[in-house]
């Protein structure tokens, strides 16, 4: 979209406006915005983009041809004077030859678009067969990229996303972590109204229809993720680690947050993708966005492992029992008076312990795993009604709110609406209605004015404890 | 059109471009549209027919609900009413007002019998059938269905179902059509006693006839699609 040739040749207002606008769009503005379909970073989106550009050129050609013809006619046959306007030209009724030619010509042009369209339909709907060498070669894919594809079950809820990885038995929300080198099969479901999963740079969109399961797939292009064009227009390329900082140890979050403003985040790394619900789904439809984070294979595996451990019920810290001995590094829970009656705190064994060495009687053997604020926040999470809707460290299928397991690793808050840092989380907890008017946490099912959440507004201490707890989940 | 022909019409009917009276064109246009109404309803029913067999694990055998003998009878009655309608149209064309009147009455009576059957059918479907023990079972409401009575004699639970929705709305719409037709015919029947009725009204009766036959034909489609098909496959 960078040609400049037509501009000077076309004098009329109609045309110059149209073409000017078109070229303005093409050359003067950036196309790599957060959610831009003009900046594809994956095979499927690239295919959609290519067909789109083909259609753009076809229609620009047609517009110039037909529009040019129209302008020529208007110019040539305009009535130049009042007398001429009263003349009677030849009363011609038509020409079947011209008509037929034009009909056939337009049919041919449509065929040019129809062929890639049909190929594109197949590509969008079906992951290529890993044994079909010819197709794989054409698409420049490795057999393993398809064979090792990961599956994500996406469930849309008003107004957030649940991402379930059936192969690993883990559930997360609003941030889809995926390996950049592998195909990702996405099964789409909804539990309420229709939503639409739109990941412009990777896959286009597909609706989540109630009562049926839809499918789309995508595969990122690592090369494209690693390269880009900087502000001065120079192409650059970075290594995989820089383009896709690891999620599991919080590098992704740090790298993104190193940018001063939320608005600049997407420039930080190539592996950060933005998505959005595209089918009107109710009051807060606009707020239903999500992110997809590309990872190297290695980092993805580490993330999965960490998540699995966090959500594995067998790996949760058990209550301390005086009958047991504990090895070094074991985490147990034990009543701690500091936190109030009957509240338990997590302790880690610094060395192997003998029977009866409780964390209280032997403080030198046990250390507190978390700060006081964290533990208090955790208690608040239970007592303030948060746990009714949000699951932490369990898969919590069917929970009303987003799963908050390892929330401290997330880059965004409130379904991708804001940066997940202390300030935003503080604001969010105090009055989420001000940020996302009508959100369910504030206004939703079964939550009324007396809900403890609303009383947190002025309680600086409790809010900060909750913030500490939530961001400490990593 | 020759002068004589124009004279013969004597301004009773405006001369039309096609020679077909306006009312008839209107009626045909309406029936074309009505086809789409019923087409939509019948497709809805057909789309749901298969999936409506089991909804949420609640299996529905429509045959347990239907009373096919009654419906066959009412179908026969409706078809017979069409005969009366045809005779009424023919009579008015011949100027036989008396015959027209009684044929109209015949159509009205048969139409009403059909409606009565439908009302009976609906009421019984909604309330369910009594089994040997006097328990109610096989209840079909707009939104739910209850299967067989439980073994301990408790009524079967009404469970959400889609069959009742499509069935009642489709056959109910048809019933409404029949009812409108009956009232329309009733209007003409009453009018025939005013002494003003003449062959000039032939076109009006004919339009009634078109409507009535159409409603009849629709039933000929509904009966196999909704009822008979459940017994076949």
């Amino acid at each position: 979209m960078t040609s400049h040739t037509h501009r000077s040749k076309i004098p009329q207002l109609v045309f110059s406006l149209q073409t000017l606008a078109l070229f303005l769009l093409g050359s003067c503005s950036r196309i790599d915005h957060k959610q831009s379909a003009l900046d594809p970073k994956g095979l499927v989106a690239q295919n959609q983009y290519d067909i789109f550009m083909l259609s753009v050129w076809i229609t620009i050609f047609l517009f110039c041809a037909v529009g040019g013809c129209l302008l020529f006619v208007l110019w040539k046959y305009r009535a130049k004077s009042k007398e001429e306007a009263m003349e009677i030209p030849e009363q011609m009724h038509g020409s079947s030859k011209i008509e037929t030619t034009l009909i056939i010509a337009s049919a041919v042009i449509l065929v040019i678009l129809a062929v890639p369209t049909l190929q594109g339909v197949v590509l969008m709907n079906r992951v290529p067969d890993p044994n079909d060498q010819a197709t794989l070669e054409k698409l420049k894919l490795d057999k393993s990229q398809i064979e090792d594809a990961i599956t994500v079950n996406v469930t849309g809820k008003r107004f957030f996303w649940v991402f379930e990885y059936p192969q690993y038995g883990i559930v997360t929300a609003n941030e889809l972590v995926f390996p950049a080198s592998k195909a990702v099969r996405v099964n789409l479901r909804t539990e309420d109204v229709i939503h639409s999963f739109w990941l412009p740079k990777l896959a286009g969109k597909m609706d989540l229809m109630p009562g049926q399961e839809n499918f789309l797939w995508f595969i990122a292009d690592e090369q494209k993720i690693r390269s880009g064009i900087d502000k001065d227009g120079n192409p650059y390329e970075v290594d995989a680690k820089t383009a896709m900082p690891s999620v599991f140890d919080g590098k992704m979050r740090q790298t993104i947050f190193a940018k001063q403003a939320f608005t600049d985040e997407f420039e930080a790394v190539g592996g950060l993708f933005y998505g959005q619900c595209a089918e009107y789904c109710g009051n807060s439809h606009a707020y239903m966005s999500f992110r997809a984070l590309a990872q190297t294979d290695e980092d993805f595996e580490k993330w999965v492992l960490k998540f699995r451990n966090a959500q594995n019920p067998n790996l949760q810290p058990t209550a301390y029992s005086a009958e047991n001995t504990y090895e070094e590094g074991t985490v147990v829970t034990y009543t701690d008076e500091q936190l109030g009656e009957n509240n338990r705190r997590e302790f880690r064994a610094l060395k192997a312990t003998a029977k009866g060495q409780t964390p209280v009687t032997k403080p030198d053997v046990w250390e507190k795993v978390h700060s006081d604020d964290y533990e208090k926040g955790k208690i608040l999470f239970g007592t303030q009604g948060c746990a009714q809707c949000h699951a932490i460290n369990k898969t919590g299928i069917g929970a009303k709110g987003p799963n908050l397991t390892l929330f401290g690793l997330r880059t965004s808050l409130a379904a991708g609406w804001m940066r997940n840092d202390e300030d935003s989380l503080d604001k969010w907890l105090r009055n989420s209605n001000e940020i996302k008017f009508g959100n369910l946490m504030w206004n939703g099912e079964g939550i009324d004015d007396r809900h403890p959440l609303r009383q947190l507004q002025d309680d600086d201490e409790k809010v900060s404890q909750l913030v500490t707890y939530l961001l400490g989940l990593k | 059109m020759s002068d004589a022909a124009v004279h013969a019409l004597d301004h009773h009917e405006p001369v039309t471009s096609t020679g077909i009276p306006n009312k008839k064109v209107l009626m045909w246009a309406f029936l074309g549209s009505d086809c789409m109404f019923f087409g939509t309803l019948i497709s809805t029913h057909l789309i749901y027919r298969k999936i409506s067999a089991t909804v949420g694990g609640n299996t529905l055998d429509v045959r347990d609900i239907f009373d096919i003998e009654l419906t066959s009878f009412s179908t026969f009655i409706l078809l017979a009413s069409s005969l009366f309608m045809a005779l009424a149209v023919s009579a008015i064309h011949k100027g036989n007002l008396k015959s027209t009147r009684w044929m109209l009455l015949g159509t009205i009576v048969f139409g009403s019998i059909f409606l009565a059957c439908q009302v009976y059918e609906f009421t019984h479907f909604v309330h369910g059938k009594e089994n040997k023990n006097g328990d109610l079972e096989h209840q079909l409401t707009l939104s739910a269905y209850a299967g067989k009575t439980l073994e301990d004699g408790k009524d079967a639970e009404l469970k959400p179902h889609v069959f009742g929705s499509t069935f009642y709305v489709l056959t109910g719409t048809h019933g409404t059509h029949v009812a409108i037709g009956v009232f329309w015919l009733l209007g003409w029947f009453v009018y025939s006693f005013t002494g003003r009725m003449s062959t000039a009204h032939a076109i009006d009766i004919e339009c009634c006839g078109l409507y009535w036959h159409f409603v009849d034909i629709v039933w000929i489609i509904i009966f196999p699609v909704v009822y008979l098909m459940e017994y076949a496959f």
């Binding site: 109609v14 149209q18 769009l25 196309i31 959610q35 989106a45 959609q48 789109f52 259609s55 229609t59 517009f63 037909v66 529009g67 129209l70 006619v73 208007l74 046959y77 009535a79 306007a85 003349e87 009677i88 011609m92 038509g94 020409s95 008509e99 009909i103 449509l110 129809a114 369209t117 339909v121 969008m124 008003r158 639409s196 739109w198 896959a203 286009g204 969109k205 597909m206 109630p210 009562g211 595209a278 009107y280 009051n283 606009a286 966005s289 | 405006p14 471009s17 246009a29 309406f30 549209s33 789409m36 939509t40 809805t44 749901y48 999936i51 909804v55 707009l142 939104s143 929705s165 709305v169």
Partner: protein, 647 residues
């Protein structure tokens, strides 16, 4: 039982009839009674037009509120629910209360004139459809004042968002108002279409063969057929939805066996023909205007007519292209994709023919012609983006983004509304008898053209860089702000243009200063231009005998053989039917019935759902009384005795 056959009574018997039965407003009715009871297609057309222009302003204000909200990120002009109500009401209003009735206004006013008829086939039914339309418009806008406010479901109200289960306001009545309003508007459109079909098929003047019909009349016929075949689908869908909402059926309730998919199919089986229902009248108008201002007959008349009919026909076979992203599978999407591409061919044919018409002509750039040219260029862009959407992979990115918003506004404003404004500038002199100010007209065109492109062209780009439609807010950092601001500025320019245009139209009815139009100010071609401006009550004093396609042109410039003739004056004068209260009463009955059904549910003291049908039954009674009165009030009328050339 409506007895519309005209019985020509002699003046004596006529006065005898007058004394019998109940009164029917006669020849000398005036003022408000005249307007309420008129059965004159011209007055009905006018009322259609004025009501639609009023709703155009209403819908326009809603649009401007939407645009203000999108000025920048996280704006708070409207809350999210208000915004969602705005776009729902804007869409519904513009489609059902503006474009359709504006087309109906032109159909009503000009179709009978173009075929040489004195009125439509069923004048009282015509009045009924007008009042039904008004009733529908009122019901839709009444929704603002009741529980939940206006519907917030989008103009296509996708299930299951309309299901009470997923309502976000307890007891939300918005969707109910929406359902009943659309049902009544549907009745209005159906009645009008039956009427137009009968009129065009049956009431053509002698010699006015089908292939001599002006293209506008042809498009009236095609659109009427589209309406009668497409409306039933949505009428049934709405009925099913009403049953779902009020009586607990499970048509669209996926938790109990229903399929939300079905709603989409039913809606778009109506909705896609609806698109052509909106655009074909404008194409008809443009096909009238371009020949006039090029002083040449329409190039390839047969093909233009045929392509119009073909577009209508194919319009029924492409509905699923609105549903490419709903997971219909490879085969269905491919088939609908190809069919949709094919529909571009007859559409292209029309554009070729318009250009062909201008080729070799003497083109004058009066306001109607400017709007016609604006129509062609804007519609072309809308058409091209339409071809893009027909390709499934492209649609996977475009669906539900601002690109689609841009596309259909290019078709519906740049296309339909420009076409209808073209019609206003072209035909208002015939209606009012006065020419409008050309300079002001051109100014309006410039504002509208500029404002329109400023508003909607950036939306293509906005859609591509990721702005989804129907979002009341967007986050910063997407790069949406600048383009949205251009669009908002443009929308206000467009709004001002439209407003000035509307004021100009209304003004031309009153202003005595404007130049009289005379019979044929544009040297136009079709039959209505042989009549005086404004047109007399009886249209034609003597029924014309048509000899050629462009009869007015042939009369002025053609060979002697092609000049139209006239049937002799009738001795008993021109029979004029009396006015009638019945249509108004009948429509009022429907209105009351709808209101009764809207409010029939309540929660009684014990918390049980109570149903009270009193008002609905009262409405039904009024309706039936209206129909019975209608049937028995019988044909009556009076006679006018115009002189030879008074027409």
């Amino acid at each position: 039982m409506a007895i519309e056959s005209i019985k020509y009574a002699s003046p004596e018997t006529e006065s005898k009839l007058e004394t019998k039965a109940f009164p029917r407003p006669g020849q000398h009715a005036s003022g408000i009674v005249d307007w309420l009871t008129t059965i004159d297609h011209k007055k009905i057309g006018l009322m259609y037009g004025l009501a639609a222009l009023f709703f155009l302003i209403v819908g326009g204000i809603e649009a401007l509120l939407i645009r203000s909200q999108l000025w920048s990120h996280n704006m708070e002009v409207l809350t999210n629910r208000q915004y969602n109500q705005m776009f729902t009401m804007h869409g519904t209003t513009m489609v059902f209360l503006v474009i359709m009735p504006l087309s109906a206004a032109f159909f009503n006013f000009f179709m009978p004139l173009q075929i040489g008829a004195r009125d439509v086939a069923f004048p009282r039914m015509n009045t009924l459809s007008l009042w039904c339309f008004i009733a529908g418009g009122i019901i839709l806008n009444l929704s603002w004042f009741f529980t939940g406010g206006s519907p917030a479901i989008g103009w296509f109200g996708y299930a299951p968002l309309t299901d009470p289960r997923f309502t976000e306001v307890i007891g939300d009545m918005g969707p109910d108002f929406w359902i009943f309003s659309l049902q009544i508007l549907g009745i209005a459109s159906l009645l009008a279409s039956f009427n137009f079909i009968t009129t065009i098929i049956n009431m053509r003047a002698p010699g006015m063969t089908m292939m001599r019909l002006p293209v506008f009349t042809w498009m009236t016929l095609v659109v009427s057929f589209l309406l009668i075949l497409a409306l039933p689908a949505i009428a049934i869908a709405l009925a099913e939805l009403m049953f779902d909402r009020s009586y607990g059926t499970n048509f669209f309730d996926f938790l109990e066996g229903g399929k939300p998919h079905l709603w989409q199919h039913l809606f778009w089986i109506f909705g896609h023909p609806e698109v052509y229902i909106l655009i074909l009248p404008a194409m008809g108008i443009v096909s009238e205007v371009i020949p006039v201002f090029s002083r040449k007959p329409l190039f390839g008349y047969g093909l233009v007519v045929f392509s119009g009919a073909l577009i209508g026909f194919m319009g029924f076979a492409v509905w699923s292209h609105h549903m490419f992203t709903t997971g219909m599978g490879v085969v269905a999407t491919s088939a609908f994709s190809i069919l949709t591409m094919l529909i571009a061919i007859p559409t292209g044919v029309k554009i070729f023919n318009w250009i062909g018409t201008m080729w070799g002509g003497r083109i004058r750039f009066d306001t109607p012609m400017l709007f016609a040219l604006g129509f062609i260029t804007m519609f072309m862009i809308g058409g091209f983006t339409g071809i893009m959407h027909s390709s499934v992979p492209i649609d996977a990115q475009h669906q539900d983004t601002y690109f689609v918003v841009a596309h259909f506004h290019y078709v519906l404003i740049g296309g339909a509304l420009f076409g209808l404004f073209c019609g206003f500038y072209f035909w208002l002199p015939k209606i009012t008898g006065r020419m409008m100010n050309e300079k002001l007209g051109k100014f309006v065109f410039t504002l509208m053209f500029l404002g329109f492109n400023l508003t909607f062209f950036p939306m293509h780009y906005l859609g591509m860089i990721g702005q989804p439609r129907r979002t009341h807010s967007y986050n910063e950092g997407h790069g949406f702000e600048a383009w949205n601001q251009i669009a908002t500025v443009g929308s206000f320019i467009l709004g001002i243009g439209v407003f000035i245009g509307v004021v100009q139209f209304i003004h031309s009815f009153y202003s005595k200063k404007l130049k009289p139009a005379g019979k044929n100010p544009w040297d136009a071609r079709s039959l209505e231009w042989t009549l005086s401006s404004p047109v007399k009550d009886y249209n034609f004093a003597r029924t014309p005998i048509i000899k050629a396609r462009d009869q007015a042109w042939e009369n002025n410039h053609g060979e002697k053989d092609n000049h139209s003739e006239k049937q002799p004056l009738d001795d008993h004068g021109v029979h004029m039917p009396d006015r009638s209260w019945c249509p108004l009463v009948t429509a009022f009955g429907l209105f009351v019935m709808a209101i009764g059904l809207l409010f029939h549910q309540s929660i009684d003291a014990s918390g049980e759902l109570a149903r009270d049908y009193t008002i609905a039954i009262a409405g039904g009674v009024i309706f039936v009384v209206g129909v019975i009165m209608w049937a028995i009030e019988g044909p009556r009328g009076y006679h006018l005795f115009p002189k030879e050339n008074e027409e």
